[in-house]
């Protein structure tokens, strides 16, 4: 089995959950890497949309920013940002949205706004960006986040975007018709919402990771599914394509 880093396993597990006919609203960083890895492996026709307005883009290197020239040049077309948020996101045309954050709770609500109180933050984070409406307008949400007790918390300092709110049917009761987070992919495991309580539940553990390690890196008592499988390790092909993508990207960004 090839040697690989937990972050690589995370990206690869996320990529695997994408299908060839998915239409994805892609964020910078891990989601962008996962989506492009999927496109370069098992999902060549996947439609990638970045909030900068680029529709069906096929970048050869990963963008550093959401509006890199590469995204626009390789896109089917590029629309204005108001149109992107009105016709494409709010219009219900995106099947899969990606989110991540500084903090997540057990119902997959996310905080990207502040650590500490809003008016006197300990750490001022970048803020919402597209998250509040991505969280409710996309057909379903994938979350990619590395685990750790500062990130996986019992109570968020600020709810920037909702997941399953307080569990059960609380999301639907807000009038939201989309599914919300269907998967949380970390560097240790894959989590899915419990069908009834909607609490995020470990369904698959990455090779070499223990239940204890997952619990140590989670700020609430972790629920494990009745049947927890082992995440298949990255294949040589997956690792090769991902590493080439990152190498191309680093060369391109260093040159610019």
């Amino acid at each position: 089995m090839a040697d690989y880093k937990p972050a690589e396993m995370m990206t690869i597990a996320a990529a695997r959950s994408l299908k060839n006919d998915d239409i994805c609203f892609v964020g910078i960083g891990q989601p962008s890497a996962a989506c492009n890895l999927a496109r370069l492996t098992h999902a060549p026709d996947i439609t990638l949309i970045y909030e900068s307005g680029t529709l069906a883009t096929k970048p050869t290197v990963l963008p550093l920013s959401i509006g890199d020239g590469e995204l626009c040049e390789t896109a089917l077309t590029t629309v204005s940002v108001p149109e992107m948020f009105r016709y494409w996101l709010q219009g219900g045309r995106i099947k899969v949205g990606f989110l991540g954050g500084a903090q997540i709770d057990k119902y997959a609500n996310l905080n990207t706004t502040v650590v500490g109180p809003y008016d006197k933050p300990k750490v001022r984070l970048p803020g919402a960006g597209g998250a509040p409406e991505i969280a409710t307008s996309c057909g379903e949400i994938l979350i990619i986040m590395a685990q750790g007790k500062r990130a996986f918390v019992e109570k968020l300092d600020f709810v920037t975007s909702i997941g399953h709110v307080t569990g059960g049917d609380s999301r639907a009761k807000l009038g939201v018709k989309t599914k919300g987070p269907v998967k949380l992919i970390t560097d240790m495991a894959v989590w899915e919402p419990d069908p009834v309580t909607k609490e995020m539940t470990v369904v698959s553990i990455h090779p070499g990771v223990t239940r204890e390690q997952i619990q140590e890196n989670t700020g609430w008592p972790v629920k494990f599914a009745a049947h927890v499988s082992e995440t298949p390790a990255p294949t040589a092909k997956e690792l090769e394509v991902l590493r080439e993508l990152h190498a191309r990207t680093n060369r391109a960004h260093a040159a610019a």
Binding site: F85, G129, H253
Partner: protein, 286 residues
């Protein structure tokens, strides 16, 4: 009607202390040269509107030009924090910064509504999160046909919009290509405008029937500033300088390093300093 002028005259004409101004450009075509000129002219008490405050607002905040920020994502894209922005919010330095915080969808809709001459934007958003608790401008409106509750926020109608574009013709018609962001909306929503361009040409080039063109009577001041979007990019002219964005992290982290960089590269320079970036990358592309 467009006036073709110099950057210092355009900023002096359009931007006054206490104004609400929007420098826009969504990663692409960010008006860095115009930002520097506003700093050089020492504008104060500005309310800044921008979806992604980015390096331009980090610089203006750090230089003490800003009293309030209306925004939706305040980071250095793909790199990390905006340190001057964080210093202002976390430590009140150089002085306290009032925040009016939104989501991207809200900001984009607010510009769209401003361009459309409406007092409010109506959209499906802000469901269940905490932003409405800290931003009293976020209200609800009920659809009289379906009973659905939608979000309502005031439209953006800045005193001044500042954008950078690829080219203008001598009448002042401005053409934009590529990642369009909210620039057209910001210009149409504003009372006064400053548009810097890579070049002013006799006639706009052969173009698609639906090219994005702002007619001359919608842009107040037009100024040729080659390279004026650097380290952001201008599609067809020069690429994004990703390494400068990474370098900014070190420059801005420390107050003194920041101040020294601003003195050397902004206060002691003029808009012509940007031309080298345009030239450098054009040469590299040839």
């Amino acid at each position: 009607m467009a006036r073709i002028t110099t950057l210092s005259e355009a900023i002096a004409d359009a931007v006054h202390d206490g104004d609400t101004i929007a420098l826009e450009g969504f990663t692409h075509l960010i008006p860095h040269a115009a930002c520097h000129e506003i700093i050089r002219q020492g504008r104060k008490n500005l309310t800044l509107i921008r979806m992604t405050p980015d390096l331009v607002y980090d610089q203006m905040i750090g230089m003490g030009c800003v009293s309030k920020l209306v925004f939706s994502w305040g980071g250095n894209p793909g790199v990390g924090s905006l340190h001057r922005f964080r210093d202002a919010v976390e430590n009140g330095l150089p002085h306290k910064l009032e925040l009016e915080e939104h989501s991207h969808a809200a900001m984009a809709n607010a510009y769209e509504a401003g361009a459309a001459g409406l007092p409010l934007a109506v959209f499906r958003g802000y469901i269940g999160g905490d932003l409405p608790k800290v931003n009293p401008k976020i209200k609800r409106i009920t659809c009289p046909f379906t009973g659905e509750e939608l979000a309502a926020i005031p439209s953006h109608r800045p005193d001044v919009a500042v954008i950078h574009a690829q080219r203008a013709d001598r009448a002042g018609n401005v053409m934009i290509e590529g990642v369009l962001g909210v620039q057209k909306e910001a210009v149409l929503a504003s009372k006064r405008q400053v548009v810097t361009v890579e070049e002013i040409v006799d006639e706009l080039p052969q173009r698609s029937l639906n090219a994005v063109v702002l007619p001359h009577w919608t842009v107040g001041n037009v100024v040729a500033v080659p390279g004026g979007a650097f380290p952001s990019y201008a599609a067809g002219y020069y690429p994004r300088n990703n390494s400068f964005y990474k370098k900014w992290d070190d420059i801005a982290k420390d107050r003194d390093t920041f101040a020294a960089w601003m003195k050397e590269n902004v206060l002691d320079k003029g808009p012509e300093a940007f031309a080298q970036y345009a030239r450098k990358h054009q040469a590299a592309a040839e």
